[in-house]
Each structure stands twice: as structure tokens, then as C-alpha cells.
Symmetry: C2
Subunit: 310 residues, 2 copies
């Protein structure tokens, strides 16, 4: 195989109360990476897909993941060039950095003859994510495996693939505003009151139960984040209004996607989902924030090969 | 009905990472309360079942729960006398105060002609528990409903009844040592580091997932409490040894039951469960703490009537 192309889906991390813990993959846009063997021994970014994405391999999640996979596969002398097609927004809260890392890892592993199992690609992707967006695995694990994931532990890395209802839809709203991941992370408190910690844990547990039992009302009550959302919402004009509008329109919970600025809402049924999306767009607009929204299913497949040439 | 007798099972609360959140009911010992109509308008304790239990109705969880149920049922002028048979240890960490409250609530409701639904008995029991042991619902909800419960919220009260595997056994060890609930609660920190809060939430989520999918290995990894156990274990000589011995003997997790001094371990299979119980007893003994252990199933029925006379 001389050229391999892989796709990784967008993801919603920090799912409600699941800060750094819960993530899910969504259908639709994602990042695509084509990896090719080259004659030298370097990992290079042939095209980074966006002028704002660093072309230096060690500052780019795709480049870092590719290097780490190559090292793990003991193929350190294989030259690799990467072409990145960004389908996801930069710093959008839709797991763009994770998707680039995961697509690169999957493509490079295939290029090298699949020496690593899917699970073994997680750590290289996490290292890439950590280099640019903080050490959290809820985006990369969801992008890699698909579905809904719970990160029980980072050390050792322990990812639980959760049961979820196939009919659950995710309305993903993308306001035209920017919030750097670094800035969003810096707003998190260093410590929380015990009562807040216990409430957060209770909501995570309830959310896991709601997903496994299709209890929509419980799902709605469980999408409550007492830690990250209160810290970040003030940085996101229109979010409070969009959330209120989404819930008013029947959303089964609404919160910030990742560390923002995107926001997400749960829904069941296409018509309600589209209505919720419209309501969110209008609410953002009421605060003079242009926004778009799309209705996604949960992507149960995760990253996958989409082509290649021998 | 002139006399009604109700039983409520013992419970393991603060289940692993589920401080104030997760509880389960166990088969075997429990508290039994007989309620009788009397000619006057008082709620009285006829016999409190143990010399150390207050006979004043307002200092006794059975008395408080009985009064609250009577008030809710708008039967405030009905005289009630209660006889309590304590099957559970006092301040043992096996939900004794909750069981007395729940048994009384169920008995009094039946005595009054069942004006309240089972769910409506929860708040009166919680009020009783709050008066003597802090406002937490993981014992009372588990004793009332049976099974494994998750308290999503106290305000408003929201109890989730979790899916659990019927073959899961609970080894309950009772060391002969005392730890007052008040003292145990006072050791809890007022705040926790964010990383600790997130780890606790991740473990609660993983535990809920493990129970619903019968993933024993995940269950073992999920019984990890970073908040209460580290604060309380130093007050409980022998616990650390008993936990190590339980895990060594194959337990699927081990932690403090309630706020102690009892400890619990999960197991599957009678023989492993008995072996774990023996190992825990020996470990306590190595620290000069006498202990007993019993193997329980999860009590899926919760509180129930066990007799009555017209």
C-alpha cells in the first residue's frame, strides 16, 4: 500500500456532566487524512488543509499521531507524508484536532501493514491531542471507536464503550464565534465543593443509565453540568439563549460541545431535531451571533478507511 | 387493619465511588417495625428494640418517618404505636437507621389504608434519615425500593433504579469496632480537586455501565473511591488489610459500606464469596479486630409487609 486515506468523525466531548469523561461521535463532517510513503525518513505534512493549521509535523495532531504510530510499529525509518482535509472547524468544539490525529493514526497504521490493533492507536492519538488541546481522551476515543465512550481512567488508559440508543439524534449548533480551547480550559476551577463533585458524579451515572435504558426523561434531567458549563457559558454570547430555546423546543438536554463554542442538544425524531436546530439558530441570532446547525446521528463506526492506492 | 408489620432490608450505601449517590439493598438481616393504632393522638415508640435507640419518637427514625407519613396522609389525629425489632447493627454502616424509617413508613401507610404510593414514602424516610444521619437518600431509597439505586438529585428528589445482574453477591463484613456516622461524615473534605471530582464521576459512570452489562472486570476497576474512603479508612483499623485480602481472594471490588465500620466486597459464585468473607475476617483479625462476614444477594424486593392483624 503506497497511499492510504482514512476518515475520522467529529465528536462531542465533555458531554453534559461528563467533563473530560464522556464523548460521542457524530455522523456528517469529519477530517480525512491521506498518508503516503516517501523515500526519506521524515514525517511531513504535505498539505494541512487550512492556512491556520501548523504544517510542522510536531505542532500538528495528525503529524504527532503519525510519528507515534510509526514509532510504536517500530517502523521509525519509514518516510510518511500526510495530506489533511479539514471537514471540521478549527477550535470549534467538534473534536477537529482529535479527528485529524485519529484519521492520521488509522491511515498510517494501514500504510504500515496494520501492525497495531485499533485499541493500540488510542495512546498515540491521546499524545497528539495532549500536545495541542490538553490531555483528555473523550474526543479521540469517540473518534477512533465511534459510539459513546466513557473514559474511566487516563492512567492507565481505560475506555468504556457505552450502550446507547440508535435513534438518538444530536443537534450540533455552530455559532460564528471563537473560543480557544486553551482559554476555555483556563476557566475551569482547580477545585470544586464536595456537593458539586457529588452532583456531577450523580449526573454522569444517571446519563449512563439513561442511555442504556432509553429513558428520555432521565436523559433530559441528566444533561446537567455544574462545573464546566457555568465557567464557560459567560464566554459564549448566545449560548444561554440557545440552550433555553432548545429545551423549550423539546430538546432532551443541551450543553456546550467540547469546550465550545459549538453547542449540542439531544433529540429523538427528525422533525423535532430540525425544529430544535432552528430554535437554536434564532436564539443565537437574537444575540447577534450568526449560527448554523446540523442534525446528526451517533456515528457508531468511528474512524475508517475511505480509499487507498497500491 | 389494627396492626401491621413491615420489614426493610439492610443496605450498602456510598457504594464504592458513589458517595451519597449509590446504594443497594441486601438479603438477610433487616429491621422490622410493627405499627398499631392507639386511642390517643400520639406517635409513640412502644419498644425501640435496643437499649441504645432513643424511645422519643422525634429522635428515632422510625418515629419520625411514622409522623411524616401520618401527616402526608392527612391522618394527623390517628394514634400510632411502634414496636421496632432491630435486625441490623446500630451505627454499623448497614443502613440500620434507614431500615427502621422505611419499615415504619411502610407499616404506617398500610395501617392507614395505603393512602400513599411507594414513591411518596421516600421523602418522609429521607426526613427521618436526615434528622439522625445526614441528608442522604442512598440508604433509604435502596431499603424502600430494593435493588441498586442512584440518587440523581435530592432537590428535587430523583431516584434512578439501576439495572443490575441478579447473580452478583455482596460479602458484608462487620468488624467489632465503632465509628459514629457523625464522626465519619465530619472527615469528609469540604472541597476536592477538580481531577478528583472528575475521577469520581468517571468511576460512578463506569460502575453503572458495568452493572448493566455484567462486565465483572469493569466492575472491579470501578469500585474506586477517591473521596470518602481515603478520609475514613484511617479511622478503621483493619479495613486496608481486609480490602487487600478481599481483592487478593478475587473480590470484584471492595470498599467501606456506608460510612463504616462495615465493609463490603462484590463476588460472583457462592464459593468465591465465602472465601472472600473468610479472607476479610482473617485480615481484620491480623489487626486484632474481631469480625464476622455474611454473603448476601442483592434484595430486589425492598421493604415489604410481613404480617398484620385485623
Amino acid at each position: 500500500m503506497r497511499s492510504v486515506r482514512a476518515f475520522a468523525p467529529g465528536t462531542v466531548a465533555n458531554l453534559g456532566p461528563g467533563l473530560d469523561i464522556l464523548g460521542l461521535a457524530v455522523t456528517g463532517a469529519g477530517d480525512t487524512v491521506t498518508a503516503e510513503r516517501t523515500a526519506d525518513r521524515e514525517v511531513r505534512i504535505r498539505s494541512s488543509g487550512h492556512p491556520d493549521i501548523p504544517a510542522e509535523p510536531e505542532r500538528n495532531t495528525a503529524g504527532i499521531a503519525a510519528s507515534r504510530v510509526r514509532d510504536r510499529a517500530a517502523a521509525g525509518s519509514t518516510g510518511i507524508s500526510l495530506e489533511i482535509e479539514k471537514g471540521l472547524p478549527l477550535s470549534g468544539g467538534q473534536g477537529g484536532s482529535a479527528a485529524s490525529a485519529v484519521a492520521a493514526a488509522v491511515a498510517v497504521n494501514e500504510l504500515l501493514g496494520s501492525p497495531l490493533r485499533r485499541e493500540e492507536l488510542l495512546e498515540p492519538c491521546l499524545e497528539a491531542e495532549a500536545a495541542v488541546a490538553g490531555r483528555h481522551a473523550d474526543n479521540v476515543a469517540a473518534a477512533l471507536f465511534g459510539g459513546v465512550v466513557l473514559i474511566r481512567s487516563l492512567e492507565p488508559l481505560d475506555v468504556v464503550r457505552l450502550t446507547f440508543p440508535g435513534e438518538l439524534l444530536v443537534v450540533l449548533a455552530e455559532p460564528r464565534q471563537s473560543l480557544r480551547t486553551e482559554e476555555a480550559r483556563s476557566r475551569l476551577p482547580h477545585s470544586v465543593e464536595l456537593s458539586v463533585a457529588l452532583a456531577q458524579a450523580a449526573h454522569v451515572g444517571a446519563l449512563v443509565a439513561a442511555l442504556s435504558t432509553r429513558d428520555w426523561e432521565l436523559l433530559r434531567r441528566s444533561i446537567e453540568d455544574r462545573v464546566a458549563e457555568p465557567a464557560r457559558a459567560p464566554l459564549l454570547p448566545g449560548f444561554a439563549e440557545a440552550k433555553a430555546a432548545a429545551l423549550q423546543a423539546g430538546a432532551l438536554g443541551c450543553s456546550i460541545s467540547g469546550s465550545g463554542p459549538s453547542s449540542f442538544a439531544f433529540a429523538v425524531g427528525d422533525e423535532p431535531a430540525r425544529r430544535i436546530g432552528k430554535a437554536m439558530i434564532e436564539a443565537y441570532r437574537s444575540r447577534d451571533v450568526a449560527a448554523t446547525a446540523r442534525v446528526c446521528a451517533i456515528d457508531s463506526r468511528g474512524a475508517r478507511l475511505v480509499g487507498g492506492q497500491n
